[in-house]
Symmetry: none
Subunit: 369 residues, 4 copies
Amino acid sequence: MHSHMTGDSLDELRGELRGVNLELLELLSRRAELVERVRAVKQARGLPIHAPEREQAMLEELEARNPGPFPPATIRRLFAEIFRASVDLMERGKDEVLKVSRIAGRDDLVFRVKGELVGAGPVLIAGPCAVESEEQIEVAARELARLGVRFLRGGTFKPRSSPYAFQGLGELGLRLLEEAARRHGMVSVTEVTDTRAVELVARHADVLQVGARNMYNYDLLREVGRSGKPVILKRGLSATIDELLWAAEYIVAAGNVEVVLCERGIRTFERQTRNTLDVSAVALLRRMSFLPVIADVSHAAGRRDILAPLGRAALAAGASGLMVEVHPWPAVARSDSEQQLTPAELARFLDEVGWPHPAPRPVAVAGGT
Amino acid sequence: MHSHMTGDSLDELRGELRGVNLELLELLSRRAELVERVRAVKQARGLPIHAPEREQAMLEELEARNPGPFPPATIRRLFAEIFRASVDLMERGKDEVLKVSRIAGRDDLVFRVKGELVGAGPVLIAGPCAVESEEQIEVAARELARLGVRFLRGGTFKPRSSPYAFQGLGELGLRLLEEAARRHGMVSVTEVTDTRAVELVARHADVLQVGARNMYNYDLLREVGRSGKPVILKRGLSATIDELLWAAEYIVAAGNVEVVLCERGIRTFERQTRNTLDVSAVALLRRMSFLPVIADVSHAAGRRDILAPLGRAALAAGASGLMVEVHPWPAVARSDSEQQLTPAELARFLDEVGWPHPAPRPVAVAGGT
Amino acid sequence: MHSHMTGDSLDELRGELRGVNLELLELLSRRAELVERVRAVKQARGLPIHAPEREQAMLEELEARNPGPFPPATIRRLFAEIFRASVDLMERGKDEVLKVSRIAGRDDLVFRVKGELVGAGPVLIAGPCAVESEEQIEVAARELARLGVRFLRGGTFKPRSSPYAFQGLGELGLRLLEEAARRHGMVSVTEVTDTRAVELVARHADVLQVGARNMYNYDLLREVGRSGKPVILKRGLSATIDELLWAAEYIVAAGNVEVVLCERGIRTFERQTRNTLDVSAVALLRRMSFLPVIADVSHAAGRRDILAPLGRAALAAGASGLMVEVHPWPAVARSDSEQQLTPAELARFLDEVGWPHPAPRPVAVAGGT
Amino acid sequence: MHSHMTGDSLDELRGELRGVNLELLELLSRRAELVERVRAVKQARGLPIHAPEREQAMLEELEARNPGPFPPATIRRLFAEIFRASVDLMERGKDEVLKVSRIAGRDDLVFRVKGELVGAGPVLIAGPCAVESEEQIEVAARELARLGVRFLRGGTFKPRSSPYAFQGLGELGLRLLEEAARRHGMVSVTEVTDTRAVELVARHADVLQVGARNMYNYDLLREVGRSGKPVILKRGLSATIDELLWAAEYIVAAGNVEVVLCERGIRTFERQTRNTLDVSAVALLRRMSFLPVIADVSHAAGRRDILAPLGRAALAAGASGLMVEVHPWPAVARSDSEQQLTPAELARFLDEVGWPHPAPRPVAVAGGT
């Protein structure tokens, strides 16, 4: 080995290196083609793309057969990188068929609900965690309308951890919400949790919400996809960004493209907040999909004192709107009392977020019914 | 303040705290009695139960009179919680208790399904991820029965991340599973994902399964609770132990105590495994509840090579059984191909786990039907 | 019980309820006082505040002794709430002694390094992951200075997962960084990982950095606290917000208040990003402490395409600055090549973030020294 | 494309992929040989090894010639990785391998410390969280020796979240531990946190421990690798299994193969336990490495009531030993009081775990040396 070392010409060696690089390039491309064919077979059979154990075995074989001079650890690392690139390729292939994907050049989705634009300027969806009584939702709607809020949320079928906790007013709540929204010219938003209730809820509400706990409830996703109403789809407690997009795909595949993705915080080890607001998800969802993305800062934080910075951050990351829980009397709310704002606090929140003060609807007209 | 600091004994202080706790308990009970009497009066007069404005005023008085050291916000929060409990009490009487809890001295739940004991010695639930064809489930059942397995699992309504992936054979799958189980004298186990399908699935299957993705689907929990069939309830991807118990409470509260809790791995940052098997959950669930606890090692690991140590660990932590995915030909399985065992691999798994070799059912008899 | 129901006067009952409420208030306050004394004892002995097992036992006793009519689950919930309030009280007590805490009315910390303000307007800290050669750091510094960047970062002692990966140029790197910074009138920032190297690094660098991997390295924290140099302290990979503040307390307690907290993403289950940028942490750190908070968006994202929205979000949440990795030729960088920007990309990033275009230093003057 | 899709067999495609992988391996090795020759020439002529500009140009050519289907960015990334590996190779020769890996057929590491086997039958490491006084450690050692425990742990330099909490007795603690261990014929185990203290600690203790908070403290890892003492390396709070193995590699690469890996629970969202014991990590570490693996159940659980099931689970998953905190009087311990066992509780724990009752050392003889 020593003899040729001194005799080597740097230029010749560099030429040889270049040749090897080009051979590697060709081989990598051949590999990528094979990988695409594997993907096609796997996709047809519904098999998972990623096969860690197979990779592990292949890595072991390569390490064992490595003639050097790269140390085994380097061979392992390089091939792990090549495998990862292949999985990326396979999954990107997969992405290309997704209806929710942002195809190059595709504009953001913008749609109207009762005249209100979604996906254009930022929207604010506010209201109590749950509809509790006629007076409560009426006061909430009136105060919110006064602040220029167009979207009135209120839970009527509440998914609660305990079967003994307040589960919402059900159909009565739906009617109260519907009437309050109509009186104040607002768009009503409420959650649906049961496939059997989709039709009922869709009769009363303008926008259906699928909650974080039901993001993987594919039967429900299909059903709301057939409801003809726009859907706000919340990210599951520990759902990946890809899973959220797949869940949206269920709705869109069922015929309904008016889907709004909602980041609402993910579960982490951190105890100071109820969940961890994931602004990277907002940014990535905007990049990966053409659907509008909003952020529910109330559920993310679980506390009132950082709602404004979180709201600003979500908008700065690209969110097309915010969802905030507002209750006329939060302390006596029947759920989520820790995180609901009073209407006065919402006004301060909007100031702190720098929300453009929308002209409130003339109450006379809206309330004229 | 300094003088008593050094003098304070932790044990004495704890004794005093205990005393105060018991006084609080008594006072809360007195309060609850008054609340019940208020309810009776209101009911007799047809008055509404919930009076948010009155509560709001009382909270303000309490906050004003608070001598500390609890900050006012804490006093507000604690009393709001007490008021909420009172409203709950008024609305539903006083007969509810946490039915899934292990009350002191309460024995483990043991029940029978088609003669097979659950909750006594460890049970093994095995079978393919999905029922794919008559031959596949028949071969699976035959091979499993030969190994002494009594519980045959097989997905018929599959919740899949992609709407375009294989979603199971549906009702056909139910019938194939039912027949295979009957031919081999086995208990059939299958997942139900839609409230509307519970009745159908319960007609064909012996045990219903609620998957991890549906653990928070409370409507479904209530419905399976009314089905009259035992239920295997899987822990959600990032559900806390408390949330799993509350989910079980939904089923039990609906009238069905035959619930088996299933740990199946939680979502963490670790990439080598699909999920992280949480054996502490197995141990704690056994301590906190009298319901049987099993572990699904296939979904926890997501790879075959560590199933045996995980199975041993789960049993060592107190699991009353294991669930394992077994497919006659895993490589061509339509889902989860990386983690399913062949029947031969299952035999080796059982050896490595040290599973007591149960006498296989005489095939002639079982298949005679 | 039935007899008095009808005879009850609503007003009398309400009066009694009010009385019980006030008794509860007094008892809760007594309890809180006891809790404060427990805290004093625990603090003196360095005992942990939270005792979940003891609480569990107490809850079981209370549940067992509950005379009704509150159901046991309610008693459990109410007392869990009371216990939580007590732990909060104990921990708030603890907070009050922290030097890093934001005492009511305390202004944000602002300090100067070589004339540059930190903690006032947003600062930008940029530079390559590692100092690799004289030419590389010189080109980087020159380009950055041209863009108005005042803080030049560059790793010289690199903590790497593999002992065989490039570990930095060490002392040579320190000198190259120092000279490049001096030539362009910039403030140099570099990481120190070993207590024994603090003195050396402090001789050459203007600002010391403690990396995420060393946030719990308390010996190092004490040592940088004695170095006389400002310190950037990065949050550990899965450190809680409280732990980060405690780590800062180590530095401040050693005599150095010029500490900058750096959020750099936490470890979660999400795979699309290297880490999850936690903007709630930025908001809460600003609220809980008077120290400046910055965000390292490069390590949070681990990819270039969402750096701008993350930068905007961090600033919107209250960050006093950003850290970004910039390399003249990222593709051939010896570490972190995926996430480093070129100077041209940094210029675009600053535009997208809406960064105020600072007047670049006159190069002649800066280089003249 | 459609024609071959349906015709493709997964097994055939995988065979072809394997072939391409082996060709890639050969080509990479050829490239590495060329790189070594380049290095020799450069070294002989005193030229710098790294030529970033040349690499940048080659990357551009490769990107331009890329025929797909890998996207250009992937080609750039893969070759950048290959170039980086080449520079690494040039800088350090070819003698490195991943020393901690379980090479096919390699036996488990077994070694002796003061006559006690590690890595053979399960070992028990027990003792107080911290050495607090001569009497405390003496009583602990005596009671533990009586139960047959051979490894006495005790913290002397304690890493604590708060700078104001008890930090250990330091050098005094080291001497107390050393003497107690000698009197009872035990092996002493204690943590070292500072590179500057390694020599001191190694003079007094038989086994050095690197704590979870310092797993990424590579300077410390190198230093304990040179200490000549066996090392227990704890997994970081959220360290991946791969990162733990790399950390071990630092120690082994520094010349010390006597490393014991310690799983001690990872950080998750679950609140019932302090950490989540990851038994999959135990199983995988055993498979991936030949080093002994133990589990610290005390820190994993953070509570006493599930230590026995966790201990059983860890052993069942393949652990070669357990670490348990035992204190003569846990209630008054200066740290971790909630999770330390009394010696009597340890005896019960060992029974419940089914630990083989080792013959306790004759105290007279052991203490006589």
